[in-house]
């Protein structure tokens, strides 16, 4: 029982991060049909920038804010200078551009920062909470609470504001959105900026638990992507449920099967989901017209 609780708590923590990364994917995909493989680099940049700005003597909360701002600017630049000029290119070309961007950002991070692993002090520095025999890190609760807040804020924003409605319109039909006077280019700009910010926050949250380094982004991006895929790509609730499930599945397979193969589980799931229900848990089946 204690063990079970332990796995659930660690699974949910990691899962929340996957969910945030998956949400970032979803946002950009909805607005522009682009799968942004540099999503993991946003997470890395969030963590690394906070570490280094903090090390320069800036108080941590301010450093975290700066990190989010920097990452958001980079996300915006990624769209403006790399993705937007290639509008209308084939999916392979767009995938290669974002992959190129991810390799580029990793290379820059390696130069600007360094190649070592870094950590941050947890937000609440206290002993693990004992709960039913399981030890739960306070930072885990911080991660879960923050992820919940982000999801709710994002949902309120999309559902309740005019800009949010423009995002929905753009996602539904770009041409129609442009016809009713929505500047779809700015909407895509916006989606890149917000997903970069979400990624950065995820990076800052997870660093006290999981460490970060210049190349931490790749695996996180793939996991977040698996989460989005599992939930059904393009579905925001799907990304959240997918992320949490993936985190749990990973934690359980690491605990009960083999910790060496915990990473393999994520990808095995991607394959199985794609084979049996390509539209994911929450996605709608796509009907192709000729």
């Amino acid at each position: 029982m204690a063990q079970l609780l332990q796995f659930i708590s660690s699974g949910l923590t990691v899962g929340a991060i996957y969910a945030l990364v998956g949400l970032g994917f979803t946002l950009i995909y909805k607005a522009s049909d682009i799968i942004n493989f540099a999503q993991g680099e946003f997470v890395m940049l969030g963590g690394m920038t906070t570490v280094f700005v903090g090390a320069a003597g800036v108080p941590l909360p301010l450093a975290a804010l700066i990190a989010v701002a920097v990452t958001t600017a980079i996300g915006l630049a990624l769209h403006r200078f790399a993705v937007a000029p290639a509008r209308g290119a084939s999916p392979v070309v767009l995938i290669m551009i974002t992959i190129g961007a991810s390799v580029f950002l990793r290379g820059i991070a390696q130069i600007v920062f360094d190649k070592r692993f870094h950590s941050l002090p947890p937000l609440i520095d206290s002993d693990p909470i004992q709960f039913g025999g399981a030890a739960i890190l306070p930072q885990s609760l911080v991660v879960l609470a923050s992820a919940t807040v982000i999801v709710i804020v994002l949902w309120l924003f999309i559902d309740r504001t005019l800009l949010g409605k423009a995002v929905i319109a753009t996602a539904a039909n770009r041409l129609a959105a442009r016809l009713v006077g929505i500047d779809t280019r700015r909407i895509v700009d916006f989606s890149f900026a917000v997903s970069a910010a979400i990624g950065a926050i995820a990076g800052i949250l997870i660093t006290p638990i999981a460490l970060t380094s210049y190349d931490a982004g790749t695996l996180l991006a793939l996991k977040g992507f698996a989460a989005a895929m599992l939930g059904g790509i393009g579905s925001a609730p799907g990304a959240v449920v997918g992320g949490l499930s993936l985190g749990m599945i990973e934690a359980f397979s690491a605990g009960y099967l083999s910790s060496n193969y915990k990473d393999a589980v994520a990808f095995l799931i991607i394959l199985l989901v794609l084979f049996w229900m390509p539209q994911g848990l929450f996605g709608r089946a796509k009907i192709e017209r000729v």
């Binding site: 790399a82 992959i99 991810s102 580029f104 193969y261 393999a264 990808f267």
Partner: protein
């Protein structure tokens, strides 16, 4: 075609040292894998972000075979190619039903699974540290050195190149190009789309596997990185850089991405950043790839 043969034979005359043969051999080895991938991407229009997985199968076949099973290297190379083909056949059936991003992700997941298995089965593969590969022995001749490998890789590449050209001119090739243009139209014409896609997937897997075996035999050492995500990306980048659907482009793309890092070692620190930048810039401004763009501008200039 003949021009290419002449280039392969003449260029080494200008190689000042064995180091250049080494680079040349690497170019041809990668070009072989890229030709295979180009058949899949450029002609059949199917993406694979996990092709390094097959590179890995081929590479580990020639090391695990001789070391653990006692098979001679050349037989292991064949065995690796067969295993890759069979794996591609089994996995390809469900994977190739997918399209676009989904296909990209499924192949990516598949490639990563292979890399993870290679990393974790340490008793067979030496784990993350990799293992050394015994030299290739052909008819009692122990193949070693960059010069020998240059010629072997070049000859094999030419073979693969010819095979690819002929394949594209065959009914299969035409069927594949029809699938590329419109899968539904191809189906309406009576083409067994699933079978043709599977066939080309298996063929491209075998190309990659042979290239992987060569790479391992040539380097004498392999690590699971050979099957990693970055390797897969590198292969796709080579295809797209050279030009999708251009077999000559495969050689050009491989040459650019093999030679470039060698030049960039001067800027060692900046290597990754520059590589990423180059991929981005090429994709934005030279979307069609180097060779097709050159051909197009040449045709325009002649008018």
């Amino acid at each position: 075609m003949i021009a290419l043969g002449i280039v392969i034979i003449v260029v080494p005359a200008f190689f000042p040292s064995a180091y250049y043969y080494r680079i040349g051999a690497l170019v041809f080895i990668f070009a072989l894998a890229v030709v295979g991938l180009n058949l899949l991407m450029g002609f059949a229009g199917q993406v694979s972000l996990g092709h390094a997985g097959f590179l890995g199968i081929g590479a580990y076949a020639v090391s695990v075979g001789p070391v653990h099973v006692g098979m001679p290297p050349w037989l292991s190379l064949l065995a690796g190619a067969i295993v890759s083909g069979v794996v591609a056949f089994v996995v390809g059936r469900p994977i190739l039903r997918l399209a676009g991003h989904y296909l990209a992700v499924a192949t990516l997941g598949f490639g990563l699974l292979i890399a993870i298995v290679l990393t974790n089965e340490a008793t067979w593969t030496g784990g993350p540290d990799g293992m050394s590969v015994p030299a290739l022995i052909l008819f009692g001749w122990r193949v070693h050195g960059s010069v020998a490998w240059y010629w072997i890789a070049a000859a094999t590449f030419m073979g693969g190149f010819l095979l690819a050209l002929n394949l594209m001119d065959s009914p299969t090739g035409r069927a594949l190009q029809a699938i590329h243009d419109s899968e539904i139209a191809a189906r309406v014409l009576g083409i067994d789309v699933a079978r043709q896609k599977l066939l080309i997937f298996v063929i491209s897997a075998i190309y990659a596997s042979v290239a992987g075996s060569y790479l391992a035999l040539f380097n004498g050492l392999i690590t699971p990185d050979v099957a990693g995500f970055l390797r897969s990306i590198e292969l796709v980048a080579m295809v797209v850089l050279g030009g999708m659907g251009s077999i000559v482009g495969s050689l050009v793309g491989a040459a650019v991405l093999v030679v470039l890092p060698q030049i960039l070692t001067v800027f060692q620190e900046y290597e990754q950043a520059l590589l990423g930048l180059i991929v981005m810039v090429f994709m934005i401004f030279l979307r069609g790839g180097i060779v097709p763009s050159l051909v197009a501008s040449f045709a325009g200039w002649r008018k």
